[in-house]
Symmetry: C2
Subunit: 332 residues, 2 copies
Amino acid sequence: MATIYEVSELAGVSLSSVSRVLNNHEHVSEKTKIKVNAAMKQLNYRPNSIARSLASNRTDCIGILVSELHGPFYGDMLTGIETQLRAAGKHVIITAGHSDEKSEKYGIDFLVNRKCDALILLVDAISDQDLIELSHESTPFVLLNRYISEMKEKCFYLDNILGGYLATKQLIEQGHKDIAYISGPLKKQDATERHEGHKKALAEFNIDYNEELLYEGDFLTKSGHEGMTYFIEKQLTYTAVACANDEMASGAMKGARDHNIAIPQECSFIGFDNVFFTEYLYPQLSTIHYPITDMAKMSTQWILKNIYKKDISNIQNLFIPELVLRDSVQSI
Amino acid sequence: MATIYEVSELAGVSLSSVSRVLNNHEHVSEKTKIKVNAAMKQLNYRPNSIARSLASNRTDCIGILVSELHGPFYGDMLTGIETQLRAAGKHVIITAGHSDEKSEKYGIDFLVNRKCDALILLVDAISDQDLIELSHESTPFVLLNRYISEMKEKCFYLDNILGGYLATKQLIEQGHKDIAYISGPLKKQDATERHEGHKKALAEFNIDYNEELLYEGDFLTKSGHEGMTYFIEKQLTYTAVACANDEMASGAMKGARDHNIAIPQECSFIGFDNVFFTEYLYPQLSTIHYPITDMAKMSTQWILKNIYKKDISNIQNLFIPELVLRDSVQSI
DNA sequence: CTGTTAGCGCTTTCAT
DNA sequence: ATGAAAGCGCTAACAG
């Protein structure tokens, strides 16, 4: 592998000149530029990014930490980030935190040691406190899907309360009064907020909140199925089920079908997130759109602006969910 | 950020000694080990991976190039690789090639420049020839979901012909004789092979292959829908549809339902890949299991063995697909 | 077992 | 506009 030194020799210029054309510095004569480029081509020169990083203390890499690499939600997010960053000539290093505190910390450590210029974090096991401390350290970072008031300008988050509210409100407006709710783990911020929105809608329409109609799942399909089975076996009264995400909604729908409950004729369903497979379900799932791709892109914009000093305006931190109507809700 | 130099000073030993304990070299006295570790802790020392890579010419990073970051298939693959590698203390740099030749080449370039120790490539736009040439260059790599005879020990691939065969055979055994086929892009190896398997099954049961019943899609949901619509509008005769992947199968099923065709009573469906959402579909989709996670892990094993000289045996290159029976095929 | 020394390939002052 | 020289933080012979 040719080095910058060999290039300089072949081109008959100094190291520095080669480095300058490499980095598009101004104040380089057309002549040397041409000589250097020719030499590079001839030697099939490829800059060594490691050496460059060591010398410049910049890696052009953004570290991404997501909970999981699979799953529709994270996939869309990663794609959003990667396309933006690539367009800006920056790169991503991706790692997974598996919603486990140790694992998340390990992942952050790795990315920091890797000398990423900045991080985009989607974490839910690490505490606010740890994150705030981390923000005083070297590597800057932004938070996706999380709000911490002490560093709110670096948070990109959804109005989850509004989302939960919109879902239940839609159900109510279609005539439903007895609404079961399958929640995410209530120790997680987003799960709590969505549930809060649900209760807010009930309150607004003077419907008493019934604790019995709450099932706490874990955001995975299976727990949706379990929740639905639980409601059915307890023989509770309800005409609709609101779910804190689409995976659980799909599980719940399957649970209903296992018991020969017609959807939406006998029971309506609404999800949350609007992941791609909501359209594949039968009936197609009404849900709340979570603009994760836009949010991922926005967090990237923040980094481009603040870390790489690109000229970018209109940074938006709060995102608004929207109702998506499909076929899983019946008017009664 | 403390450097190795400061550590050596505080510990009262030389640079090399610090480096040695850092790298778990043998021949270091317990005493210095303790001194050094204490100094490291006191200074909150973190090794600079960039400097280390430059000096050692090793990054402990594996570059991954996939077509897309989203989608069930790639997600499972990435998870398989990342967990394996992390367990071995290695790391991944992930980038996307978008099934576009330029983009794939650019991605490989990036990973090579980044000095990855090895690459895992899932590419379908780059030619065999280019890949063979690349294999003569510096960074070693393996290929997922692709077979090139010149480098077959570095290929990890599925018997797609068998998969296509199994799917159609299942349909035939359930009494279907007129079987429509929605294929992937026939310029792609896996699409062709799956289709070949389909024809092989027909031939084995003495069923004439009917060119009219072939629709060439692009592996995406929408083209499955289009294919089904095409068959319906042409008013062709068929009792079952075999699809070259699950996404297209889901689209096709939706197409059937749009025309009030009962599934599976009036038309049976079978997919390919066994991605997670096949269970969410209604009816649940019968399909061919593609052990992508296992394959991804195996490719990782190859790297651990050949690049990092770990003691690993039983490297397997060819993987066998399996029929997964659910509810989308009706016996007639 | 430990220390000395020479780089790894590049960026970046500072002169010229 | 260009060149010389000093590192970036670490590893890896080599010598002792």
